[in-house]
Amino acid sequence: MPAENTPTGATAASLHKGAAPAGRAPQRLAQAALRDIPWEVGVAKPDPAIVVENVTRTFGGLTAVSVDHLEVQRGGITGLIGPNGAGKTTLFNLLTGFDQPNTGTWAFDGKSLGKLAPHRVARLGVVRTFQLTKALSRLTVLENMLLGAQGQRGESFLRALVPGIWRSQEKANTAKAMDLLRRFKLDAKKDEFAGTLSGGQRKLLEMARALMSDPKVVMLDEPMAGVNPALTQSLLGHVKDLREEGMTVIFVEHDMDVVRDISDWVVVMAAGRVIAEGPPESISQNQAVVDAYLGAHHDAPLTVEEEDRVLAQAEAAIAQEEHGGGEVLGTDGTTGRTER
């Protein structure tokens, strides 16, 4: 990893920031650190939290993800965008242990995460949310929150039987959970079942629950999907707060305004590959990105020659079908096979 030899001020600065008094204007250190980085796919970052190397994942014949090299800057918000089916969620699943890659390795803080079970990845400080929100419906909002706390003594079978062992920790966790709930304006709902919350509130709850584990990296899969515009603003504010607290945020989003507003760096995926990366303003000018979203070939109308060619091909196919049975069966077989 080339970045390891060139630690810049970004690490030190982001460490100091935690201690700095709140209320100062946000510094966007990651943005500053990334300013002079070339806009190239697979470029090395000054202080990468996550490094992905040659990760591929195939489902049958379909290559869902094939990423040669990708680094994610620590303490920044990295937006992951791409058209539907680009492999964004699959990459999320691979990074968090929910899916295993066919090849490749990736590391978080220099520790290899290959073949780790999801809960082990989470214990390292990489938590995620889901595209389809997973609020635990028949648990109360507060119970949802408490579940996020790590290292709970009362979660072992035998110690659970002796409340004295875990009660003080439970109290501390509850206080922490209430702080977070107040921040996310869910404190009034703490005793309601999570299943009674609205879609947007569930997104908030899921994010708050993830924060209970004091994560280092937060991965948000479409945090704004299906959320009304008013709530989107508040969600955006919360995501920016995470950066202020020194967390690394990776998020998948389709809304380009949102991406432009909050990301320090944007990674564009299409058909499983990273096709572009750079600061948000670079992305809309990138020809590869435009092609991926709008199509490189199909936007122009067919020319007359092309139309003639297509027509001729179709006629030839029909003619072939009308002659000799064995021949036709053979062709059908081959086309069938290629389609599969």
Binding site: H119, A122, L136, R138, L147, G148, Q152, E155, A160, S213
Partner: protein, 332 residues
């Protein structure tokens, strides 16, 4: 009127007897599996059979001490839970259901097979293994006592008393566990496994613990049953009992500590009351012989139970103890 009172008394005896303890324990185990963790165990009776035969084989065949037999039964249920859980708990819930239902039926057929009869007694089963336990009773077990209008033998009373004490203890255990953070993780797994994984919990381990705990409780149920009947026969452990235990659980209210207990008492009462009551009505000529004969009663009482369950699910889907708001969440 006298017949009605008699039917009440007989049904009351059934609702407090060891069969009710048996179903209560099966259902408490299922409550841990299904009610709290969301595991679909359709072979709870296999755990009961291993528990019961653990005692029967240890004492009658191997000549071991009764309490060693209890230990053997518990170990056997733990082993069964591990064997069932290891391959299936990483998969979707359906696979555990398939594996358990097949195991329950397969184990029963194995236990009653001719080749196993040297150990299990085959279709004749085993008997004479509960003497050590019955002799512990503080009263004369040979005598009959009158309780609540019916006659109980001293042995029956003793088994029922110890059985209900066991039920109370296990309810306490479940209550302690389910109010702890451990229980919270189980309930979260019931709601969504992946969310729990993403929060750093080892879901597989928790599901395994739940499967073992519920299985051992079911095994204890089987022990109470064979001690109560004084004989262990593989055909007592038909898998229909698993589904009766589910009925008990739904009736009382899933994911409630006392749900299975109340469910078991009510189900046994209703079945026995329907049985005795209908027979009395037929004998008195209230129900004409042409409509329903005394031999049909055994079947018709289950029809009545089924009807009652249907009405319950329509008007009180959460069961007797359940929380209606919880059930209604599913409909959203």
């Amino acid at each position: 009127m006298g017949d009605l009172l008699n039917a009440f008394a007989v049904a009351g005896k059934s609702a407090l007897g060891f069969q009710a303890v048996f179903f209560a324990l099966l259902a408490i185990g299922l409550n841990v599996h299904f009610g709290y963790t969301g595991l679909l165990n359709f072979g709870q009776i296999a755990f009961a059979m291993l528990g019961g035969f653990g005692i029967a084989i240890s004492v009658s065949q191997w000549g071991l001490n009764f309490w060693v037999g209890v230990l053997v039964g518990i170990v056997a249920t733990v082993v069964l839970a591990l064997l069932l859980g290891l391959p299936t708990l990483r998969l979707r819930a359906d696979y555990l259901a398939i594996a358990t239902i097949a195991t329950a039926e397969g184990l029963r057929l194995l236990f009653r097979s001719v080749s196993a009869s040297e150990v299990t007694g085959g279709t004749r089963g085993l008997s004479a293994f509960n003497g050590d336990f019955v002799s512990l009773a503080p009263w004369d077990t040979g005598q009959r006592y009158s309780v609540l209008g019916t006659r109980w033998s001293g042995g029956e009373l003793w088994v029922a008393l110890v059985g209900w004490l066991l039920v109370a203890l296990l309810c306490l255990l479940v209550w302690l566990l389910m109010r702890s953070p451990w229980g919270r993780v189980l309930k979260a797994i019931r709601e969504d496994e992946d969310a729990v994984r993403a929060l750093g919990k080892n879901v597989y381990l928790y599901k395994m613990q739940s499967l073992v705990l519920g299985g051992v409780i079911g095994g204890l149920g089987g022990m109470v049953y064979v001690i109560g009947t004084g004989a262990a026969n593989p055909d007592q452990f038909q898998n229909a009992n698993t589904f009766l235990a589910y009925a008990v659980l739904i009736l009382g209210g899933a994911a409630r500590v006392l749900g299975p207990v109340v469910g078991a008492i009510i189900l046994l009462f209703v079945i026995q009351f329907a049985d005795t009551g209908l027979r009395a009505l037929i004998n008195n000529g209230v129900i004409p012989e042409g409509l329903l004969s005394a031999t049909d009663v055994a079947q018709i009482r289950f029809v009545l139970v089924g009807l009652g369950l249907m009405l319950l699910l329509v008007f009180r889907p959460q069961g007797i103890f359940g929380d209606r708001r919880e059930v209604m969440l599913d409909a959203r």
